[in-house]
């Protein structure tokens, strides 16, 4: 993973701009995230045979627990009109690679109203076009990724298939360094 790291961007920014800006001790930069996050379509079949094709709603991308992992979350609408939240964790990622999801991934979905999510391994592939991170002092690090995903899972007679796109980039937006930052 490459890192467009700017851990002390504020200080660097002040050095570059000279002494014209006063009082910029920290927290002068702010993150700005662009991209459509996680989008796509879920094809879901419940154990009773009810099938839906639903657009991913509220899809989000966040860094996973390791440098090469990504955590996805979103929801789809089931055949009864209920929003069904799911999460996906994928590890072993790097830029410009196509990864077999069977190696290190899982999908979690509550299979019964009010129940805890059931997690199951994924099959399919993720093709990563770009991947990096942006770190900003006092904000932490954000994941930048462009990828396409085709992920399938099945458990206890249900089947889940997500065809989606991952697109998120966080940029550093230099703020005017005023007193107190």
């Amino acid at each position: 993973m490459t890192a467009a790291t700017t851990p002390r961007a504020c200080a660097i920014f002040v050095l570059l701009m000279g002494a014209g800006l006063q009082g910029c001790a920290q927290q002068c930069d702010a993150p700005e995230t662009t991209g459509s996050q996680l989008t796509g379509t879920v094809h879901y079949t419940a154990g009773d045979g009810a099938t839906v094709d639903s657009a991913v709603d509220s899809g989000e991308i966040s860094p996973g627990t390791g440098d090469d992992t990504v955590a996805l979350s979103g929801s789809f609408t089931d055949s009864l009109g209920e929003a069904r939240a799911f999460t996906i964790n994928i590890g072993g990622l790097s830029a410009d690679t196509s990864l077999d999801l069977t190696q290190d991934s899982e999908m979690c979905l509550a299979l019964e109203t009010g129940a805890a999510p059931t997690c199951t391994p994924l099959t399919g592939t993720i093709s990563v076009q770009a991947m990096s991170s942006t770190c900003i002092a006092d904000y932490g690090c954000s994941l930048n990724i462009e990828a396409t995903l085709k992920a399938m899972a099945s458990v206890d007679g249900t089947s889940f298939a997500l065809t989606g796109t991952l697109d998120t980039t966080t940029n550093v937006v230099p703020s005017t360094c005023s007193s107190g930052g």
Binding site: A46, D48, G49, L80, T113, G114, D156
Partner: protein
Amino acid sequence: MPRTRYGLALLCLTASACSGPDTTAAPEHVQTSAFAVPASSGSGLAMVFEADLVAIGNGGVSTQVAGPSVAVGVIGAGAGEVLDTFEAGSTDVLLGPTSAWVLQRSTTAWTSTLGDPPTTPFTHVTRVDRTSLKETGSLTFSEPLVNPAVLSDSVILDAVPSTSSDVARAVFLRAYDLDGAAAPTSLVSDQGFAAAACFASGGAVLAYEPARAVGTISVVAAQPDSSGWTLPRMSIPHYRLDPTAIGCSDDAGRALLSVIATADGQSHVLLVDIVKMAVVVDAVGLQGPLALRGDGAAGLALETSNQGLVFFDASTQIPVAVPGVVALQQPWQAGDLTLWTFGEEEDTVAVVHLADGSIDPTFDAGAAPLVSAWPAGPGFVVGQEDDNGPGDLPLTRLSLLRSGQVESLPLGSVLNAPSLAAIAGSTLYTLTSPTTSGAADAAAPATASLQVYDLDTGALTSTLPLPVCNTATAEAMKGCSL
């Protein structure tokens, strides 16, 4: 039979704030949870008190039951006396015709976001006679109860929760007889997906999608008779079940189901006669929420296309002249009266008659009103809280809806954190507590107030102070003493 539940949220008597979790850790304090057990006739009342040690922190509200719960006489014979002592465990109370069932979980410590009771099953029950207010039996369940309902003074039912399931799970309906065998009678035991149960004075209905017949709904009625149980069953092919709405007739022989056609995904409401194994009404384009008249001959349901309300029976469907879109929540029911919530803000209520689909004048009840059905009226009591006020929510209006009229009930002097604790006959018991919003209150003796109303006359007949569990006794894990 309408189910009456009394939970932790109903009354929070404490020496410090208990209006919700704070992000700041607070020291442990003693909280009293109270559950009303009104006498079925006359004016007697006992309260079941549970002492809890509560700590509010970043992880939520941590609660530990501080020993056995007790029933204390409040009104009538035995007032001021400890009438019964129960197990130590999170408590709930269900009211039967002449008995109250004090249900307890084995759970004695849990953490929740808002201080809610745990969701673990009930493992023990103590029956309390609603005349003497004394214990008349107890039972430890061989299979804990997840969704209990009282059928009679000896029988309590338990059914699989009314939920969806994408995977096959255990679907069950069973009965415990407190005066019979310790083991439950299994009425339905199967594997299935979505399931919904409803309970009535004459039994229960369980509808579910059996795993062995996907695309079919099985409907079973459980009706007690002199020799045990009658269990008529019917299958309805080509539909899937929406488990969020179901209605039973009083004899549990008929049910109203919200279903989805497997062929085209269209919503239907089915009125089925389980005994005759017949679909009486197949109303296309309707869905839950819904309500079924006690005789099982007519109902109300939501119109899918416009979120209006439709009255129907075997021969007709009539739109109800509703004051806005119907809120997607099951109505309250008192006899053949139903109380529905309307409008984008879900702050308007109106009584709709199951006799003919007529609607009474609308009533601005505010957001999330407190509602209690009054079957003997019939009618409804509606309480409104001021959610903009400081500290605990003060009660701003208490109204009685009956005979097409809205009557204001007088308010007591203590108005905070109200709950409509119980209605027995024509007597309404409400509970309120003093404000607990400030630090000064923490040092003040915590008392709560019980208000007694005569719903026939609309009068506030008495106001009584309620005690709280003794702090030292609770901290010594010796339960609730007063």
